[in-house]
């Protein structure tokens, strides 16, 4: 009886965590799926959101949600500028997507070190964490922390908003058209450059939002950005670039596998577990779990 409940709790926590991974991946999905930029510095904006929330509650005694008023616009703006002034020149000179990927990877790898360096200089490498809504809640017989549940619901809300925007607005339609075929989209009159910049910026903002949500229940430091970039990359590739539902499902899968794996094997092996899942998917269904091959 006890073991089953524990397992269920582990599973549930994995699901809640997976929702966060799904959200983090959604932002990267926008950046890579629409704007076609593989941004290795993505996780640094996640971190920005986390730090903003941290300072919000620790320094100014404000609800960390309010930090979004600062972190979202800043993340959006920086990413928009990155796209317009750093990525556009690369896009212009790249012969094809693979050539672009090579250049983009190098530049964003460099940016990663710039951002991480700035974070280390300003905020040092200490591990940060804070307590917010950390009360236990009973969910279907298992005990989970309220902050995890709240963060999960927040992620669901954001994902829903994104889903509605993509499905039912003109902007969303344009973004989906660009994801499928940028050339065809431009032929039917879509301003690919403007919408790609928008998608890229929105992706960065989503990263910051995810960072804020995750910071409520997981501690972090100036070097944690890379970890979340990696998780986002793994989820996006496993899902196959494109749809919101697929990305979320893959995120949930990653969360559950990580949680169960951590419990059954060793919590110190999370990256190894992530990679094993990643490798399995690469070997069996490289085009993505949820795309039609």
């Amino acid at each position: 009886m006890g073991a089953a409940v524990i397992l269920f709790e582990v599973f549930l926590n994995g699901l809640l965590l997976g929702g966060m991974y799904g959200l983090v991946a959604l932002g990267l999905n926008l950046q890579y799926g629409v704007a076609r930029i593989l941004n290795l510095s993505y996780g640094e904006f996640f971190l920005g959101g986390a730090f903003a929330a941290f300072f919000s509650i620790m320094l100014w005694k404000l609800n960390p949600l309010l930090s979004l008023f600062i972190s979202l616009p800043i993340a959006f703006a920086i990413n928009w500028l990155m796209y317009q002034y750093l990525m556009m020149p690369l896009i212009r000179r790249a012969p094809d997507q693979d050539g672009l990927d090579a250049d983009v990877v190098l530049v964003t790898f460099g940016l990663l070190f710039v951002f991480q360096g700035l974070a280390l200089v300003n905020w040092s490498g200490e591990v940060r964490g804070y307590s917010f809504l950390s009360v236990p809640v009973n969910l279907a017989g298992a005990t989970v922390a309220l902050n995890r549940l709240a963060a999960f619901l927040g992620a669901c809300l954001l994902a829903l908003v994104l889903f509605v925007v993509l499905r039912h607005t003109r902007v969303g339609g344009a973004l989906r058209a660009i994801t499928i075929d940028p050339l065809a989209a431009s032929i039917v009159g879509v301003d690919v450059r403007r919408y790609s910049a928008l998608a890229f910026a929105a992706g960065g903002a989503l990263a910051a939002a995810a960072g804020m949500l995750v910071s409520t229940f997981i501690s972090f430091s100036a070097t944690t950005g890379v970890e979340y970039t990696l998780k986002a990359l793994i989820v996006v590739i496993m899902a196959g670039v494109g749809r919101v539902t697929g990305t979320l499902a893959a995120g949930l899968l990653l969360g559950v596998v990580e949680s169960l794996g951590g419990y059954l094997l060793d919590p110190a092996l999370t990256i190894a577990i992530n990679f094993s899942l990643f490798m399995l998917v690469l070997l069996l269904r490289p085009t993505g779990l949820f795309t039609r091959a």
């Binding site: 090579a102 360096g117 690469l282």
Partner: protein, 323 residues
């Protein structure tokens, strides 16, 4: 196989003389200079090995630190059980095998998968090694009981650096070299011209990883002890990348050209500004990708050719600037 024209001999003789001078340097140089130089040779070997695969095929590997660390650990584990030479050989083999696994999983697919995999590989190996050490060894550190002098390490690394440059040059003249470049330029064309692209990629990736592992192992001999954080450090991947790109990955001697200024910068800046240094590097890096995509090697080469052809120096400077 080795077709050298008469005009090449003066350059070769000069090169051989320089190598001899460097090899004999320990007789006169101080310990500090030796340490500096041997780190330089290590970086030259690492960046040349990196460029050998990633520079030619454009499959960007961000995992240099992973193989470097694997080399360190393999040596640390084996050197107490087997003779040093065997340990080093084993290091090469282990590096090769790990790269083989990574390559076979990801190099059959588009470059993106490979990049992402290598991006996380260092952290992955770091975590696994750490876990294993804590579980099995109950301690995070391993001691190195090697009685190898700095001079020997200096000479071995000098030899390694030369070996990688010469090896890279040699391969570039073989069919394998052409295959690598074709893959980097247009992989679809490469496939349809009869090149077994997967085999070429996996093989060359494994070779470069093998070299990186050996370099790590040799450097490990200088430390009294190692642990996972020392062995697996992402910024090493980054520095190797910069050296290769700054110098120019398209020439065998290109990365060496980039490693020198990087080493000097590192010496003078990283001590005083440990956190600002990566920021500065990152910015340089971004600048290189935009304005010097081929690195400085092509420019140096052009300058040399015009100088050799005896044309006006200022005219050359002007032309360099425009290209």
């Amino acid at each position: 196989m080795l077709e050298l024209a008469a005009k090449d001999w003066p350059a070769i003789a000069l090169g051989a003389l320089a190598v001899l001078a460097l090899a004999l340097l320990p007789l006169v140089a101080s310990g500090y200079v030796l340490s500096l130089l041997l780190l330089l040779y290590a970086n030259i070997a690492l960046s040349t090995a990196w460029a050998f695969f990633s520079g030619t095929t454009r499959y960007i590997s961000l995992a240099t630190a992973a193989f470097f660390g694997i080399g360190i650990y393999t040596l640390a584990i084996l050197h107490v059980h087997v003779p040093m030479a065997i340990a080093l050989l084993a290091t090469a083999v282990v590096g090769f095998l790990v790269a083989l696994i990574v390559g076979l999983s990801t190099l059959r697919l588009r470059g993106v998968y490979f990049v992402v995999f290598t991006f996380g590989l260092t952290e992955l190996v770091h975590q696994v090694v750490n876990w294993w050490e804590m579980k099995i060894n109950r301690t995070a550190t391993r001691y190195i009981f090697a009685d190898v002098s700095n001079v020997t390490i200096y000479q071995v690394l000098l030899a390694l650096a030369l070996l990688t440059i010469v090896g890279s040059w040699y391969v570039s003249r073989l069919r394998l070299g052409y295959a690598l470049r074709a893959i980097g330029e247009d992989e679809m064309v490469a496939r349809h011209t009869g090149i077994d692209t997967t085999r070429v990629k996996v093989l060359c990736f494994a070779i470069s990883a093998s070299v990186m592992a050996v370099v790590g192992a040799v450097l490990a001999l200088r430390y009294p002890y190692i642990d996972a954080s020392i062995a697996f450090n992402n910024s090493r991947s980054f520095e190797v990348l910069i050296a290769a790109l700054l110098g120019g990955p398209s020439r065998p001697w290109g990365p060496a050209l980039g490693a020198i200024p990087l080493m000097l910068l590192s010496e003078y800046l990283s001590g005083t500004f440990p956190h600002h240094f990566p920021i500065a590097l990152g910015l340089c890096f971004v600048v290189i990708v935009y304005f010097l995509p081929g690195g400085i090697a092509p420019l140096v080469e052009r300058a040399y050719h015009s100088w050799a052809a005896g044309r006006g120096f200022t005219a050359q400077l002007a032309r360099l600037w425009r290209t």
